[in-house]
Amino acid sequence: MSAVAALWSTSIGKKAVMAVTGIALVGFVILHMAGNLKIYLGPEHFDAYARGLRALGEPILVHGQALWSMRLILLAAVVLHVVAAVQLTQASWAARPVAYTEKEAVAADYAARTMRWGGVIVLLFIVYHLLHFTVGVVGYAPGQFQEASVYRNVVNGFRVWYVSAFYVVAQAALGLHLYHGVWSMFQTLGMNARGNGFYRGLAVVAAVLVVVGNVSIPLAVLGGLVN
């Protein structure tokens, strides 16, 4: 049995897969947030950035190749992350068939206790987000979504207050997921040489950066700062 298959067949190995895919997803989420902030530079910059993503790597790569490679890697990461999460969750639920009448959480914080349902919210959000800003089939009046006008799409999309509200809630869920997840990732990969405080600090920085950066955009649209 190859080493990776051997790993996948153990609970710890599956958790390691979640951590490694987690690194890829966290890296993406941070870069994505940083890219999103270009919206504050105005429509020309933002649309040029969107075009640039498609042209990335040309002329060595063909148009869209880098973008689609990234998308496939991220899709694989999400699938592996979620499959491992579902399998491990099933094992854990089966491991305590009779619940406690009384059970107190002494150490686990809110973020740790909500990883699973928070993860489901994040997954639903990813699906909605792709249908919304990438495909344009939800959240717009007919004909309103223009594939090349990314800036306009974002402004029109976030002008619908309940869509913005959903984005803010989803980012809060993502923030909690990162607050526990980034710390947990180091523990899972056995990287604990610097002590818990250091890794918790990294998790706080990642969560705050992502949430504040992303949430600022719907708020800026609703507040009229970006129009």
């Binding site: 491991a95 305590r96 107190e104 002494v106 990969l189 056995g190």
Partner: protein
Amino acid sequence: MNLILKVWRQKGAGSPGRFVSYQATNVSPDMSFLEMLDVVNEGLIARGEAPIAFEHDCREGICGSCGFVINGVPHGPRRGTTVCQLHLRTFEDGDVLTLEPWRARAFPVLKDLVVDRAALDRIIQAGGFISAPTGSAPDANALLIPKDDAERAFDAAACIGCGACVAACPNASAMLFTAAKVSHLGLLPQGQPERWDRARDMVRAMDRELFGSCTNMRECEAACPKEISIAFIARLNRDLVKASFQPRRAAAAAGV
């Protein structure tokens, strides 16, 4: 002082259980929790009722026999303390205490507060040992061990196998126990030859026993009467990943 106990009563492994209330009257704050249960049980026996079954042996916090959940916390509210070392002065006069057995599929209830923890023994059997030639005892100073390593190995070896970590874990995971057992040998030179096989075999045994999967909630560490650190879980994670890339010891010896 007086206490009201709501105790899980269950006749046998297969039978249904329920909570029954008992009064512990005029007990001394200096009694241990188990001494208080002894007093309650004497009353029950005098009335011709079945005494509350609970496990115990050393009553000094070193054997790992005792343990149940008091008001939702394994071994009760005092950190780093087994229930046999927990004194009634920890509680207030008139407190209502719910006593429940460890709850995990791998720990079936045998009777009342007693569960079968043989699953932990089977994890040990899978790799919690070293192979050493027998015969004359080696010189005590034949193997030099750095003080830090010796101390960390001791910290891990402090695990008494009580199972509170499993009981406390929202996933009913046995990671803290397994990590302690893998690490206390893996940190010492005597444990090196079998280090990778041990990690692999003990983790597989843990999975076979149908414990849940760790999500780094840290409830185990808070409940552990020996205050075993989750740093050992990180170490086990590391060892297991490394072990997956190592040949088995027998295979290595055969040159394959």
